[in-house]
Symmetry: C2
Subunit: 350 residues, 2 copies
């Protein structure tokens, strides 16, 4: 295959309407399907957008006024799904879940009673509070009730187990900046063939030309994107996917993140026992540990870690701003980073 | 200001919901307004999308069924504007311009007769064929008829003269990958305050949550984007804008590109005199020289230059595929690149 090097005198990135670039896109699609456990007839689209663009592309591009969606609203990103449905006038009901609460079969059954849902929108890992939903619960509920299952895995891809085909997923939403460790700005949508066919058969009117899957499909089959893609990120994606597969695929990547998360949680056990830190009561993704500061000094600790030690955690907005900081376990991190952070937290909090 | 360095152990790019990142975004906005000649009350939005996303955001986000748009359709990107208007049911008329043809006042007047237009959509440089439109003609026509003037300058920003305020521009659409020489995937929209107010006063229903300028405005005033931006590209944008201003601003950048374009055109004069190459009859942007191969061997020359010499020109699609290659003059190019390309073309064609 053609290698893109610095030798190209006319611009640092190659022009993309070429066979060489098509090969790269097609290779990305195949590798993504393998990593996600998606069948050969699944459809892969590379969107130049934030994850929210991809969430809207799927929710408003695959469903319409004739649908009825069950939205798992357990934090900022679940709420965003409900806003998208609201914005586009798609009938929907939300299952509201509080911080610390776990999604149960009873909550889903209660929502389903009296409703004839056609699809479910859920973020497997609600990254604003670190909650991981039970994929088996989601899958079996959707199978029983005949729903299309749309899962945003932006914050859980390659961190928490999920298999597109076995878990009955119809749409998977991925972004470049989390487990794929690429710059943000590229999102990936994988659609099941049955959900793609629904768009055609139900003649869902595309809300946007930019996010029209029918247009994207015509280009995707020949390894192209309809509009100028984030070329550099796509080239880096191919390399990253190749390395992920060489290193053992999704299972191995998930295991590495799980090890890192468990190591960090072990290192802060003493702080938790002393009452200096808490963890939420809900199940946690391997991608992130939300740490609760019972004294409400989260912002202070954030500033201290960032400005004095160059360690940047993810702060929260809204009502959790003073209470919670999030420690990510994706990306180029090691147990040395865990050790450093645990030591700094101990110094600051005791 | 805080410097982003490799020292950050938790991820290679900083989290963006911070004051430090807001400062960067606000600095970009101010510098972009200065470079574009936009007044202080203009609105700057950073969109994580291809240029087409930004074209749709403006055309379908600022106009509605109650408008009537004049679309200058002189090639692939002009046609895209008309498709966007069509897609969203916005009444519009196209001025169709053939390859080689120049847009004249008479053509605009003919379109205006019997129509009560509210806005014009135009790509200052129609990059599929290198045509540059006369900015003074566009500006005076829009002023005379009271139209909002929307200009896509993706392929002409910092290459051809244009001044937002003096030329009466209401919306400017810019992308990261051309004169700004950044990776593709970030687009910039600058709206005049009167066009922003039109959205509010006419209560234009946003076609997309992702591309809603009202949502973007609420975040932009505090230096934030509504959704995860292409963080790395935004940081690089700040640096690039600072350098552009240090090196003399828009006038100096435009002059450099003009010099490069004129140098290249001078170097191929002999090939043109011999009939081995032709230039289009329409006015050309400084950003690009479309070279016509009278023998229809454009594809052959493209492959030869690319695979034998590592020189990548931009091929055309559609009916111009065999006839035209485009030589870009933006980016990290010098007269040495011009000399090399002119020499190779001479070798291949004579």
């Amino acid at each position: 295959m053609y290698k893109y090097t610095e030798e190209i005198p006319f611009g640092p990135l190659p022009y993309f309407r070429t066979e060489e670039f098509s090969e790269i896109v097609l290779e990305c699609s195949e590798r993504l399907k393998r990593l996600a456990g998606a069948p050969e007839n699944a459809h892969v689209y590379l969107l130049t957008s934030s994850g929210t663009g991809a969430m809207e592309a799927v929710a408003a591009g695959c469903f319409s006024k004739d649908d009825n969606l069950l939205v798992v609203d357990g934090g900022g990103f679940g709420h965003r799904f409900s806003e998208i449905a609201e914005h586009h006038g798609i009938p929907h009901e939300c299952v509201d879940i509080e911080f610390g609460q776990t999604l149960t079969p009873e909550m889903l059954d209660a929502a389903a009673s009296g409703n004839d849902f056609t699809g479910m929108l859920v973020n497997l890992h609600e990254t604003t509070n670190g909650r991981l939903y039970d994929k088996d619960l989601l899958a079996s509920f959707c199978k029983t009730h005949g729903l299309y299952l749309v899962i945003d895995v932006i914050a859980s891809f390659l961190a928490d187990p999920l298999d597109f085909e076995n878990d009955g997923v119809d749409a998977l939403i991925i972004s470049s900046q989390k487990a794929l460790a690429l710059p943000p700005g590229l999102s990936i949508v994988i659609l099941s063939d049955r959900l793609y066919k629904k768009i055609i058969e139900k003649d869902i009117k595309p809300f946007s030309m930019y996010f029209d899957f029918r247009v994207a499909e015509a280009d995707a089959v020949r390894g192209q994107t309809s509009f100028t893609p984030a070329i550099g990120t796509v080239i880096a994606l191919r390399e990253r996917l190749e390395r992920l597969e060489t290193e053992g695929g999704a299972d191995a990547a998930t295991a590495r993140t799980k090890d890192l998360a468990e190591d960090f949680r072990f290192r802060i056990e003493e702080l938790i026992e002393k009452g200096a830190l808490e963890l939420p009561a809900h199940p946690l993704s391997n991608a992130c540990t939300p740490i609760i500061f019972p004294n409400g000094n989260a912002k202070e600790v954030y500033t201290n870690l960032a400005h004095k030690h160059g360690v940047w955690l993810n702060p929260n907005g809204g009502e959790l701003a003073d209470k919670v900081l999030r420690v990510g376990h994706l990306g180029n991190l090691s147990i040395n980073d865990n050790a450093l952070l645990a030591r700094l937290l101990t110094e600051i909090l005791t």
